[in-house]
Symmetry: C2
Subunit: 223 residues, 2 copies
Amino acid sequence: MTVKEIKVYQDLMGANEEWAAKTRDLLRTRSLLMLNLIGSPGSGKTTLLENSVNYLRERHPFAVLEGDVETTNDAERLHALDIPVSQLLSGGSCHLEAKLVHHALVDLPLDTVEVVFVENVGNMVCPAEFDIGETAKVAVLSVTEGEDKPLKYPLLFREAKAAVLSKQDLLPHLDFDVEACRRNIREVNGNIPIFDVASATGEGIPAWGEWVAGQVKRTMNDE
Amino acid sequence: MTVKEIKVYQDLMGANEEWAAKTRDLLRTRSLLMLNLIGSPGSGKTTLLENSVNYLRERHPFAVLEGDVETTNDAERLHALDIPVSQLLSGGSCHLEAKLVHHALVDLPLDTVEVVFVENVGNMVCPAEFDIGETAKVAVLSVTEGEDKPLKYPLLFREAKAAVLSKQDLLPHLDFDVEACRRNIREVNGNIPIFDVASATGEGIPAWGEWVAGQVKRTMNDE
């Protein structure tokens, strides 16, 4: 597989709010949905996107901006599935900056997509604090991480418009209480939908995909 | 279980290097080993400490400084095992600051311990950048996180003096290549020992405990 087509962006700095506002304007003008996926390293963000390809590609074509401190591994995974993708390297930073996101966004083939997923740097703390102009943040938590994480890292779950509980195929081998985790999410954010996803099998993807589709419709009607 | 005895520290700021130097002086004066455990949320840092109790308590008694953005859950787990522990709340910050660590450290019963473990805020990026005056950093990576993480978050593995690959009891249920992960760690840091630990069973703890014991001896001989 050749990955020469993957653009790599890094080291752009600037007033974050200003660039976030530019991105919001662009999304509004083009009726585009942009979802900012935030979770720990290895929480299953890239796999969620891979699993979403079959469900979403025909219905609501999407592009991906892959954020990482280093490497282009994740962009390569989406590229292999023929999803338009660019790699954003944070250059050691623990979150994506709005300027870097904006520059990568305008270079995507936006005429051909309805959704842009941003996979933020693997980190439950800092990315939740930074506005990148996204339509909504989505929290991704793997069931291997422990059901107390929404209480320990509440900002992410407070800011998120949806939460994905990933890797549920591993539940039989874990001491993880899904109901307690749901209660903990509800404690910091009473209203968000919570999607149960078995990353290995793709179980639960249709419900997640329907929610994304609903957000696309909302975005188009907002115009 | 009562947890009234757990002290809670938060919101101390100051020149990080200065406080890190104070901590280093204190550790030297008292021949204390301080290990700074760094890894993602849910990577198994607290469980590693729980599992270390039986091996280390008689040989090299230890205390713990538990770092979290919010909650005292982790401190309660160690407290339940009669380990001297204080909770450090970072107040939304993605890493522990040296001043907060120093203030909590001097209040521990240092006459009764040889080792202080600091469990940093769950995050592979920021804690690796901040000196808290520790003797050494230790990277904790769960095998549920993916074998590419040492390449994606290289600073932690470059800074660490040892790495723990935790949750290996889950390997039969995962698509995780331990050898590839070891190669990736070696690629960023050729020399550090890598400990295989099955967190659910405590398998691998003796090798890890022996390494800690070796570091204690080194610290005492440095005096």
